[in-house]
């Protein structure tokens, strides 16, 4: 079904340089998330940093390597919106998990972390 086309090939391939730059960035970002671990950040800071780095990395990969950057806009919407809906689920689950934990700590003998090591 592919139509042999006489179109010129110039301008169609992405210069290798783009990839190298992106790889560099991926490396930097990975180093960043490793640093978060290394510096022993705790709590929300830790989580927000790690998630930010993760998102940035995933975004780069999707945008450049998977050609999202060059796709039709509508398609990008179609692909980016649904994960947002799943993110609502993720957010709700964060609250839910905290709530469950709270009732365990309040009422159960083994609800506390110290008591768990049976």
């Amino acid at each position: 079904m592919a139509q042999a086309s006489t179109q010129k090939l110039e301008g169609q391939t992405h210069p290798i340089k783009t990839y190298l730059v992106v790889w560099l960035w991926l490396f930097v970002l990975s180093a960043g998330s490793y640093m978060v671990d290394y510096m022993q950040f705790q709590g929300y800071l830790r989580w927000s940093l790690i998630l930010t780095f993760m998102m940035l990395k995933a975004g780069l990969i999707v945008a450049v390597f998977m050609h999202m950057k060059w796709e039709r806009l509508a398609l990008s919407y179609a692909i980016l919106l649904p994960p947002l809906l799943v993110l609502v689920f993720v957010a709700i689950m964060v609250f839910e998990s905290d709530y469950t934990l709270l009732t365990r700590v309040l009422y159960f003998a083994t609800g506390t972390p110290e008591a768990a090591g049976e």
Binding site: T100, R104, Y107, F108, A109, G111, E118
Partner: protein, 282 residues
Amino acid sequence: MIVAFVLLLVVIGSVGFHLISPWWWTPIASNWGYIDDTINLTFWITGFVFVAVLTFMAYCVFRFRHTKGHKAHYEPESAKLEIWLSVLTSLGVIAMLTPGLFVWYQFITVPDGADEFEVLGQQWMWSYRYPGKDGRLGKTDPRNVTADNPFGIDTADPAGQDDVLVQGEDLHLPLDRPVKFLLRSLDVLHDFYVPQFRAKMDMIPGMITYFWITPTRTGTFDILCAELCGVGHHAMRGIVVVEEESAYKDWLAQQPTFAQSLAKANAGTRRVSTLNAGGSVR
């Protein structure tokens, strides 16, 4: 013609059935009259829309049914009409939702000074635990459950020793005092449900859930399990007795505390019960 008529009949029949039906709420026995009010409000709003939409439809079927030479009108859309309809519907939704949310806020906010007690569900029976003199329930763990300690109370927690245990007996509640039900399950999901209280909540193993009510009427009511919990689900019944406070106090005083029942069990079986041991893990 006939079709339009039957459609109309369905509407009239539904409304008629509603009006003459002998099947309706059991008389309420708790403070959640607000819930009934919200339902009635919802009935009025939705009932109106139901009748309006379907009567309009029946009229259309009657008025615009095919006759020779009749031709339909061509009209792709009317933004104005659609905006009006959305606004009206939104108003309807707001009218139902706003009071609903206020009542929900009350439903989940337990008033200060409510008495707490625990309902324990397991396949397929109910047991209850009151906090005893110190007003506090002892901590629990399913790992502590043994034949002598069916509630799994933590023997190391002093608050648990004077807890009053009610097993194989009816639940008693004092009239006109807010009570918070703490719901706990040992095995699977159950749901503590008394139709007259209008309140219910699932009980989840590994977690504590709650609701609160103020009983407003003395009497004896059925307790049902409203969450599928295995073959015995439909047979998981209990009885709750709402009575004057003095009668309630008398009843409560007759029930054994945790310490008493432990002592009795030890004496009866003449063996040292392994209090702390946590059950044998399979």
